[in-house]
Amino acid sequence: MKIAVCVSHVPDTATRIKIAADQKSIDPAGVSFVLNPYDEYAVEEALKTKEKFGGEVVVLSVGGDRVKETIRKSLAMGVDEGVHLKTDEALDSFAIAQALADEIKSLGSELVFMGKQSVDYDSGMVGQLTAELLSFNSISVCVTFNLDGNTITAEREIEGGKEIVETSLPCIITAQKGLNEPRYASLKGIMAAKKKVIQEKPVASTPALVENLQLKMPTAKNPGRILGTDSSAVPELVKLLHEEAKVI
């Protein structure tokens, strides 16, 4: 069984965002990039599944040269092979899904793990888009995953609870925090990852369905008021919430 895992390379969540001069992207100066936090759960689940059932894990990432870092990090965690689907364009989610679907098809992989969302554009759709392009089943936002023969059972997080979903292979699972505890890359893993060859394949350019017009900063809030330093400020707080904000 070939298990695929798709990862994206995103600014660290602690990064402060500055908009670049083109008004369409963020200024990468001083931004440190990491493996998308949700994709760490995806990598971990792929590795666990391999440890249970055998096979090999292939990591895919679409983007410019810097995504190699993220592929390398996945390899260091224990992934067997890396494929860099290379493009220097800022592709929309549909083009990314198409590139991933084409590669998954040529790998012949029937089980794919992704994150529930990339913490850059927060689209939360590449998993389902890819599944639909491939006519695969898929379950998004999973906090548990169980494979038994051909049958997949997973719990997904919903408002006020969870739902248990059942489906079958071929399938794409998108990972939510809680699915597992991602392992750290061991020193041995890091050394081994350096020796692994990352295959590079160009991505054909396609016209964007989703056109990015501009980025803006949200309007800054007016600084609020500190009403006091102990419970004597409580009556004023309640009054403001009731009469000024009218929220209670």
């Binding site: 927060d122 997904r156 919903i158 248990i164 949200p218 330093t229 102990d230 409580v234 919430l241 904000a245």
Partner: protein, 323 residues
């Protein structure tokens, strides 16, 4: 043929969700400025108060029923929505960006060869084009986008667009379609509900606790205030990671993004990842003993004091106000 907007409504437990009424209001406004008509599709077996739909939007409601459609099935719901939208030639499809909508919208988009903008916080037409705004980097920036496809799908962030009742309720046009053999290859078997709990993603008021609460045994202070306010209980990642609260309560960049009318942060420092998930709340109250805590930079009102002293009195005062 008249151009159409399709709103895909959502029911849970046979009740239409509030976010669906918000989507109906958006559809109503777009339809009148674009000269479109509106169809609303509701999938589910037994749904109460269907006619409430007509309080928000003048539309035709199509109710797709089958015993196995009460719970979500991505395969069946997608097929129904895609077939209906293509038969009717719907050009704009609206859903809510709820857990169901997030899962379904991309599937519908591929089925209709449409583009999709997820998590919109604004959707406006200018010169017959639709412009959507969505938060990115967990709200640290906003992105304005448009779709170049003929059919366009938008999912709307709950709690941002206001559901507005029409002055006079629209005429009721309901048709029922009994589905035969829905495709259940991907389906929800069972829902596990967190006992009687209001979810942070759906709540109008949230009271959240952080590491300043000192331990799970003190969360009764947070819960007590939440109860008086009819609020959901939220948490920072620090307390979720410590196992004091379940992950579903986590607010922030790797938890839930919320925009309630009122967010009360107690003993939360206001790390950038926490702010990312809640800074779009309409009103924010911070209670933190460190007056320099970053949470005060986003708070409308703050008390720079000890939550153990303040919360019991605040809870009491609110109780008085409510009675």
């Amino acid at each position: 043929m008249e151009k159409k907007i399709l709103v895909i409504l959502e029911q849970r437990n046979g009740k239409i969700k509030k976010s669906s009424f918000e989507a109906l209001t958006v559809a109503q406004n777009l339809a009148s400025s674009l000269g479109f008509s509106v169809d609303a599709a509701l999938i589910g077996n037994e749904v109460e108060n269907l006619s409430e739909v007509f309080s928000y939007c003048s539309c035709k409601l199509v109710h797709f029923t089958h015993a196995d459609l009460q719970l979500y099935s991505s395969s069946a719901y997608k097929k129904i929505a895609v077939e209906y939208a293509s038969q009717q030639g719907c050009e704009i499809i609206l859903l809510s960006n709820t857990s169901l909508g997030k899962d379904l919208a991309p599937r519908v988009a591929i089925g209709l060869k449409a583009g999709l903008v997820s998590d919109c916080i604004s959707l406006e037409q200018k010169e017959n084009q639709l412009f959507a705004v969505r938060p990115i980097y967990a709200g640290k920036a906003l992105q304005e986008v448009k779709l170049n496809s003929e059919v366009k799908v938008f999912s709307l962030r709950p709690n941002v667009f206001k559901a507005v009742q029409l002055e006079t309720k629209a005429n009721e046009k309901i048709s029922t379609v009994v589905e035969e053999n829905p495709d259940l290859s991907n389906r929800v078997k069972q829902i596990i509900r967190s006992e009687g709990k209001l979810d942070v993603a759906e709540a109008d008021i949230i009271v959240s606790g952080g590491r300043g609460v000192k331990g799970p045994e003190h969360f009764n202070l947070i819960e007590g205030l939440a109860e008086q306010l009819g609020a959901a209980v939220g948490a920072s990642r620090a307390v979720v990671d410590a196992g004091w609260r379940p992950h579903e309560d986590q607010v922030g960049q790797t938890g839930k993004t919320v925009s309630p009318s009122l967010y009360v942060a107690c003993g939360i420092s206001g790390a950038i990842q926490h702010l990312a998930g809640m800074s779009s709340s309409k009103y924010i109250v911070a209670i933190n003993k460190d007056k320099d805590a970053p949470i005060f930079t986003v708070a409308d009102y703050g008390i720079a004091g000890d939550l153990f002293e303040i919360l019991p009195i605040l809870t009491e005062e609110i109780k008085k106000l409510k009675s």
